[in-house]
Each structure stands twice: as C-alpha cells, then as structure tokens.
C-alpha cells in the first residue's frame, strides 16, 4: 500500500533513492548541493540501504566516481545543482559517450555570476547537449515518480544512457508537499536489477572502457549514441505506461491541461506549470479558451508530441526559465519553433524568458502573458517575438 506523506522536495527524492537502493552514490556534499545527499547519507548510516556512499572532493570527481562505478556494472546515483552541475560538465559527456546509466537529480538553480543559487533552469539547459536524457518535474510528487522511472529508462538495454531528472530549486526542493510514496517492495520490483552488458570487474573477460577513438571510429560511436537517444522515447513511453499502472498517476511525455478546445496556451516546464494551471482554471470561468502544455521530457526532444500538442491553437507562448544568450530566444522556444517548421497547422508563437535567478513568477505575470496571447489571437500579429517577463526597465 502506498501512503501519503508531507515531504520536502529533497526528502521525496531521498526517499525514492532509499527505495531504489543503488549500489553506489558519489556526491560532493557542500553548496550548491541540497539536502538530498545529506538525507540519503543518513539512510546509509542507519543501514537502511546497501549503498557504498562516496564523499568526494568536487562535483567533477563525483561524476567521475559514478562513471567508474557504472563501468563496473553498478547501479549508480547522485544529485547536484547549479555550479555543481557546471563543474561536472566534462564528465557528463563521458558518462553518456561511454553509454553508462548514471541517474542524477539536478535541483534547478541559477548559474553565477553574479552569485545566485535561486531557481532557474540555466544549469540543466547548459547541459542539454551533453547526451543525457532530461526529465522535468512540476512538483515533489513528479520528482519522486520521475526518479524511479529514470532508473529503468537509463538501464534499459536499448538505451544505456544517463538520465537527469529536475526539480525546481527552493520552490520544489525546499517546500513541503503531500507526496504519495509507493511501498518499498513495489519500488524494488519495479526497478528490477541492472543488467550491465559489460563490467570492469569481470576479470575473466577483461575489457576496456573509454579507449581513444580517432576519426575512424568516433563518428560511428556518436551515431550509435544519437540513435539511442532518439530511440529512448519509445522506452520512456513503455516505462511510463508501466509506472502509470503501478502508481495510478498519469505519466505523459507532454502534459496537456484544458487543451481540447484551447485557442491560446502557455508552454512551460516544471513548477511554473502549477501556477499556470490555476490561472487557466480562472480564465476558463470567464469563458476564455486558455490551456497549458507542460513537456515532462526535454531530452530526447519529443517533436511529434509537441507538434500534436499545439494543434488548433491560435497563439502560443513558450516560457523559458533560462536564456540561451544566443541573441534570439530561450532553449525551449527555439526547439519548439523549429519543431513546428513543417507543420501546416501552427499557431502564432512568442517567447517569454522569466524567473531568472529565482525572480518570483506571480499569477499576475501569467495573466499578463495570457492577456497578450488574447491580443495576438485577435489581431493575428505578434508585436514582440522575444519578451522578458517581470524584468524592471
């Protein structure tokens, strides 16, 4: 029997980690780390898990240790945030390039400078092309659910890619929410065991991980990796369906709210979807046909689901909690807009960059976006393609 508990976002994650009972967790325990690994280390100390817990000297080393352990065939997890993820960057590409199933929670926080560790998505968006599967969570429940599924996705024989799941810094990580926690034994059955195709510890069959590959093989290895990423969406769907049955909670690739007859909509990741949901409910009371689209999966980019989700819309605002500094728009926006290029049925589109460095996103802010969308839908004209929501002039 599952039970409902009041949990901090970080506790929901640590609880999932306890239930998953990984072989190895390597983590750097100082800021910008969150309480996830602190709480997990308590489980290790109390003997609630069988995990080998390694405290290392940096996030770069944390990911390196995870890579070594995964190459040995272990089930490996870690957690990080903000500058910690940035310091891991070199090793992120090695984990994915060597096709090692590391599962990591990243608590979304800003990158310095100026110094700031409040919520935004600059950290994980900065890592969007490192070959990791990326799953965004609206709240603590989704963080818990996504983490358990991540293990199965990552270790699947057709995937063998690292997965990072995201929860919003502070908004989700440091707030208490009601979280429905599955039975320990149900989680254990669901995550199964890791069947690594190769192991460094298999002394009877000595192998090499991470050799040099020059112009004659590197390209083939990268093409395999690319195919695995594209193909992983099918596995994500399978695992999601199985988890839906276990938990009774829907696990869509792209979550849609009030979209059946919507004319205007906001597309946004993570906790801001919660705020948007409540605004949509209010607008609906006034007969305004507003809706919400919340992609749960960002890597691989679910092109077909995205294209389908906007069908019938007159105007769409894509909201990014990070800037690409590309002189054009945020990362979600540019990829959504690109996905729609061939579509004959595409809405007018605009981008809102918002909430950088933890800037609060209020109900009024979201209403303002919907007001503009109504205007765009009415006039058929987008005044400003790229907008900065709630910034002072």
């Amino acid at each position: 029997m599952s039970k409902k508990l009041g949990l901090l976002g970080t506790s929901a994650i640590a609880t999932a980690m306890r239930q998953i009972n990984p072989d190895v967790v390597a983590a750097y325990p100082i800021t910008p780390q969150t309480a996830i690994v602190e709480e997990f280390s308590q489980y290790v100390f109390d003997g609630d898990v069988d995990t080998e817990f390694l405290t290392v000297e940096s996030e770069h080393s944390a990911m390196s240790a995870c890579i070594g352990a995964a190459a040995a065939g272990a089930r490996v997890m870690t957690a990080t945030s903000s500058a910690g993820l940035a310091l891991m960057w070199e090793m992120l590409g090695i984990a994915s390039g060597l096709r090692l199933p590391v599962v990591m929670t990243n608590v979304n926080r800003a990158l310095s400078g100026p110094i700031n560790i409040h919520c935004d998505h600059s950290d994980s968006m900065g890592a969007r092309d490192t070959g990791w599967i990326q799953i965004f969570s609206e709240n603590a429940q989704e963080g818990y659910d996504n983490l358990i599924q991540a293990v199965r996705i990552s270790e699947h024989e057709d995937v063998r890619l690292p997965v990072m799941i995201m929860i919003d810094g502070f908004i989700t990580s440091h707030n208490i929410e009601v979280v429905e926690v599955l039975d320990d034994s149900d989680v254990k059955d669901f995550v199964k065991t890791n069947k690594a195709p190769f192991s460094l510890l298999d002394v009877k069959n000595p192998i090499t991980f991470g050799p040099i590959q020059l112009f004659d093989f590197y390209f083939e290895t990268k093409k395999q990796q690319s195919d695995a990423m594209r193909g992983s969406l099918r596995i994500i769907r399978e695992v999601s369906r199985e988890y839906e049955k276990l938990s009774g909670r829907k696990q869509p690739i792209v979550d849609m709210f009030m979209m059946d007859d919507a004319e205007i909509a906001i597309m946004v990741l993570s906790s801001t979807a919660g705020t948007t949901r409540s605004v949509v409910r209010e607008l609906r009371k006034d007969g305004i046909k507003a809706g919400l689209i919340k992609p749960r999966i960002f890597r691989p980019f679910p092109v077909e689901d995205i294209v389908k989700s906007v069908k019938g819309l007159k105007a769409l605002a894509v909201m990014d909690r990070s800037d690409s500094f590309n002189g054009f728009g945020g990362p979600l926006f540019t990829e959504v807009r690109s996905s729609l290029y061939e579509s004959s049925n595409k809405p007018l589109i605009m981008n809102y960059i918002f909430g950088l460095g933890g800037r609060d996103v209020t109900v009024e802010n979201i209403k303002e976006v919907f007001d503009t969308l109504q205007e765009v839908a009415r006039t058929g004209k987008v005044e400003n393609l790229i907008n900065y929501l709630g910034v002072r002039e």
């Binding site: 390039g97 060597l98 096709r99 090692l100 063998r160 195709p197 190769f198 069959n205 000595p206 192998i207 090499t208 991980f209 991470g210 050799p211 590959q213 004659d216 093989f217 590197y218 083939e220 290895t221 093409k223 395999q224 990796q225 195919d227 695995a228």
Partner: protein, 102 residues
C-alpha cells in the same frame, strides 16, 4: 639491395555503427595487435643495405618497435605498425634510411 616490405598492409573495411559495441567499449583483451597503425602513415622508411652498418640505432629509437632485427642485423620494417614518423631516418648515422612517400 633495398629492403622494402613485400606487400603494403591491406586496409580492411572497418565495421559500421550497426555492429560495433556501444560506447566504444573494447570487449576483449589484447586487441591492439589488430589495430594496424600503419595506415596513419604518409611516408615509409626504405633501408639501403649497402650503407647500413647494423648499429641498430633505428631499432632502439623506433617508438613502435617496427624495425625487425635477426641475428644482430636489420632485416625489415614492419609496415603494419610503422607510423612513418621518420625518427629512424633522423637517427641513422649513415643516412641509410630514406623516407618515401606512400
């Protein structure tokens, strides 16, 4: 008499992304022997036996240990692995080694 390899190493068709192990893993030990570094080469060494005094400097300096010695004499160069660096030719005190274009 000039010592040249009888046959240039054949460049084997390399396997594609559909068949190689994932993540660049080498799934068995001792396989570097199969990796013929000879195809990196642009020039190959040709030893002039007339000039050679069998000092074996080339044998000692070759970073790939490609100079094959038999009974204290230079016999041939193993072109399967010779990468054409030309160190042997530079070190030869008798200028007995010429680096020829492939």
């Amino acid at each position: 008499m000039k010592i040249e390899a009888k046959e240039k190493p054949k460049v084997k068709e390399k396997p594609g992304y559909k068949s190689i192990p994932i993540g660049g893993v080498i799934p068995k030990a001792g396989s570097s022997r199969e990796y013929k570094t000879g195809d990196w080469r642009v020039r190959y060494p040709v030893i002039d036996k007339e000039k050679c005094i069998n000092c074996l400097f080339c044998y000692i300096y070759c970073p790939e240990k490609c100079v094959v010695v038999k009974d204290g004499k230079v016999e041939r160069v193993d072109l399967d692995y010779c990468k054409g660096c030309g160190i042997c030719a530079t070190e030869c005190p008798k200028d007995a080694i010429e680096m020829k274009l492939e």
